[in-house]
C-alpha cells in the first residue's frame, strides 16, 4: 500500500484530449445550431448588401474611368452658317488646347448611326438637320482646361456646346455614395442584430453551465480564462454561421450573373456590372470574419459581466 508497489502505468491513449480537442465547458448541441442558423440568415443579408455595394462601387469606378477621358463637342446645324467650316473650326480649337490628345470629327454617317436607336434604321436623314459631333480624347496629364475651351467655342462657333459628362459623373458619384452608405448601414444593423442574438445565447450558455463555471473558478480559473472558453466557442459558431450565410449570398450572386449572361452574351453596362469581381467575394468573406469577431467579443464581454455580478 505504498508508492513503491504501483501497478504498471496505464494505457495513456485512454486519457482523453487535453489540448485542442478538449471541451472544458460541454457543448450545447441544439442551442448552438440554432444560433448558427440565425447568424447564417443575418450574414446572408449582410453579405448581399456588402457584395452589392462593392459591385456598384466598382462598376461606377469602371464607368468613371471610361468616360473621364472623353468629351464631346456638339455642333447644331444652323441654316445661316457653313456647317463644315464650323466643325473644322471647333476641331481646330480643340486641338489647340493642351491636354486634348485627339479631336475626331464624326462623319454624318456616324452621327446618323448614333440616332438610329431612337429614330429606327433605314430612315433617310439626309434632308434633316442632324447635329454633328466631335469626339475628344483627353489626356490625364496635363489636364485640359475644358471650361476655357467651352468659352472659346461659344465665341467662335455659336451653335456648339461642350459636354464633358461632368453632370452625369457627379450624379453617378452621388448615387454610388448613397448605395454604399445604405449597404454599410445595413451591414452594421445586421451585425448588431447578430451581436444581440449572440449575447442572448452566451448568457443562456453561461447560466446553463453555471455549475461547471463555478467549479472552474474554485479550482483556480481566472475570469478571463472562463470568458475565453466561451469567446472561443461563440467565435467559432459566428464564423460558421457567417461562412454559411456568405457562401449562400455568393452563390445567389453567381446564379444571378449566370442568368443574365444567358440572356445577353458578352453583355455590357448593367449586365457586365453584375458579374461578380474578386472584391465582391472578399467583402462577403469579410462578413464571415466580422461575424466571428463580433461573436467572440460579445461572448467575452457577456461572460465577464456575468462573472463580475456572480462573483
Amino acid at each position: 500500500m505504498t508508492a513503491s508497489v504501483l501497478p504498471p502505468r496505464p494505457d495513456e491513449s485512454e486519457l482523453g484530449p487535453i489540448g485542442r480537442g478538449l471541451q472544458i465547458v460541454p457543448n450545447d448541441g441544439g442551442a448552438g445550431w440554432t444560433l448558427v442558423a440565425v447568424i447564417a440568415a443575418l450574414a446572408f443579408l449582410a453579405a448581399l448588401a456588402a457584395g452589392a455595394a462593392v459591385q456598384v462601387a466598382s462598376a461606377a469606378a469602371t464607368w468613371r474611368e471610361a468616360i473621364s477621358h472623353e468629351a464631346t463637342i456638339q455642333v447644331k446645324p444652323d441654316p445661316g452658317r457653313d456647317g463644315e467650316a464650323d466643325l473644322a473650326r471647333a476641331a481646330e480649337l480643340a486641338r489647340e488646347t493642351p491636354g486634348i490628345r485627339t479631336a475626331r470629327i464624326l462623319s454624318r454617317d456616324d452621327a446618323e448611326r448614333l440616332l438610329e436607336p431612337w429614330l429606327g434604321a433605314g430612315l433617310d436623314l439626309s434632308d434633316l438637320p442632324v447635329p454633328r459631333l466631335i469626339a475628344l480624347e483627353l489626356a490625364r496629364d496635363p489636364k485640359p482646361d475644358l471650361s476655357r475651351l467651352a468659352l472659346r467655342l461659344k465665341i467662335d462657333v455659336p451653335g456648339s456646346s461642350l459636354d464633358d459628362h461632368s453632370a452625369w459623373l457627379s450624379r453617378l458619384a452621388a448615387v454610388t455614395a448613397g448605395i454604399v452608405g445604405f449597404a454599410i448601414s445595413a451591414v452594421i444593423l445586421v451585425l448588431g442584430a447578430s451581436a444581440g442574438a449572440i449575447g442572448f445565447a452566451t448568457r443562456g450558455a453561461v447560466t446553463g453551465h453555471r455549475d461547471v463555471v463555478e467549479v472552474l473558478r474554485l479550482v483556480g480559473a481566472r475570469d478571463g480564462f472562463v470568458a475565453w472558453l466561451f469567446a472561443k466557442r461563440f467565435a467559432r459558431l459566428g464564423l460558421l454561421g457567417g461562412l454559411i450565410g456568405s457562401a449562400a449570398a455568393a452563390a445567389a450572386l453567381l446564379g444571378l450573373a449566370l442568368l443574365s449572361d444567358n440572356g445577353a452574351s458578352g453583355g455590357t453596362g448593367l449586365i457586365a456590372a453584375l458579374a461578380p469581381s474578386p472584391w465582391t467575394f472578399a467583402a462577403m468573406a469579410a462578413i464571415a470574419v466580422a461575424d466571428a469577431a463580433v461573436a467572440g467579443a460579445v461572448a467575452w464581454t457577456a461572460v465577464k459581466r456575468f462573472l463580475k455580478v456572480h462573483r
Partner: protein, 230 residues
C-alpha cells in the same frame, strides 16, 4: 508565541468573530474565531447541518462572512474580486463533499483541471497526473467518465484534483464519507503524509472514529459556535 515566528509565518487561516447567514436566513455561524498556524492539521467536526461545509466555503471565498473578518495567509480578504480572488484560490485545494467532478471530462482530465485552468501545457504535468491517479488507486480508471465511477472512486478523483496543484492549504469536506473503513484509513494517511510535507490541512468529518486515529487539533461546530478541543 515567539515574535519572530509570528512575523515570518502568518496564520494560514484566521477568523475573528465571523458570523454567517445564507441570505436572510438564520445565522448558521456566529462569533466564530480561529487561528490556524502554517503546517497544521485540524479536524473540523460537528453533527450534520452544523455548518462544516459552510465554514469551508467561507475559507474558500465562495461565500462571504456576514460579519467579522477572515484573513488567509496573513492577508485580509475583504472586498476581494477578480484575479486577486483567484490568486487566493490557487493556494488552496478543495475536496467537495459532493465531489463536483465535471461529468463530461475523463477522470484524468478532471484531475488535471486545476493545472489546465492555470495555463500549463499538458506535457509538463501528464506524468504527474497519471502517477497521482495510480497513487489514489485510480490507475485503471483514468479514461472513465465520472458517472461511471463508484462513490469511492469519485471521492479519490476529487482528492487527486485537490492535490494536483500542490496547494498550501487543503480543505477536505468529508473526504472519507463514501469509502470503506480500510480505504478511509488509507486516505486519511495520505492527508497526514501531505501535512508532514508542509501542507496545512482542514478535514471536515462527523466520523469520530476517524479522528481518533490521528493526533491533530479538533474544531467542533455546535449550534453555530466553534469550539476548540485542545
Amino acid at each position: 508565541m515567539n515574535w519572530d515566528e509570528a512575523t515570518t509565518a502568518p496564520s494560514v487561516v484566521r477568523l475573528d468573530g465571523v458570523g454567517f447567514r445564507y441570505g436572510t436566513g438564520p445565522e448558521i455561524l456566529s462569533e466564530v474565531s480561529l487561528d490556524l498556524p502554517p503546517r497544521s492539521f485540524h479536524f473540523l467536526s460537528g453533527p450534520s447541518g452544523a455548518g462544516k461545509t459552510t465554514l469551508i466555503r467561507l475559507i474558500l471565498l465562495s461565500v462571504r462572512p456576514t460579519s467579522g473578518e477572515l484573513r488567509l495567509f496573513g492577508e485580509t480578504t475583504a472586498d476581494l474580486a477578480g484575479d486577486r480572488l483567484t490568486q487566493f484560490r490557487r493556494r488552496m485545494g478543495v475536496v467537495f463533499q459532493d465531489f463536483r467532478l465535471l461529468d463530461h471530462l475523463t477522470t484524468y482530465q478532471n484531475v488535471a483541471l486545476p493545472l489546465l485552468v492555470q495555463g500549463y501545457e499538458e506535457a509538463t504535468f501528464r506524468g504527474e497526473v497519471v502517477e497521482l491517479l495510480q497513487w489514489v488507486g485510480l490507475g485503471d480508471r483514468i479514461g472513465a467518465m465520472p458517472p461511471t465511477l463508484s462513490g469511492g472512486e469519485k471521492q479519490r478523483a476529487a482528492i487527486a484534483r485537490a492535490l494536483i496543484a500542490r496547494p498550501e492549504l487543503i480543505l477536505a469536506d468529508e473526504p472519507t464519507g463514501n469509502v470503506d473503513p480500510a480505504l478511509a484509513r488509507r486516505l486519511l494517511h495520505l492527508f497526514v503524509e501531505l501535512n508532514r510535507l508542509g501542507t496545512s490541512v482542514i478535514l471536515a468529518t462527523h466520523d469520530v472514529a476517524l479522528m481518533d486515529q490521528v493526533e491533530a487539533g479538533r474544531l467542533i461546530l455546535l449550534d453555530g459556535r466553534l469550539y476548540h478541543d485542545p
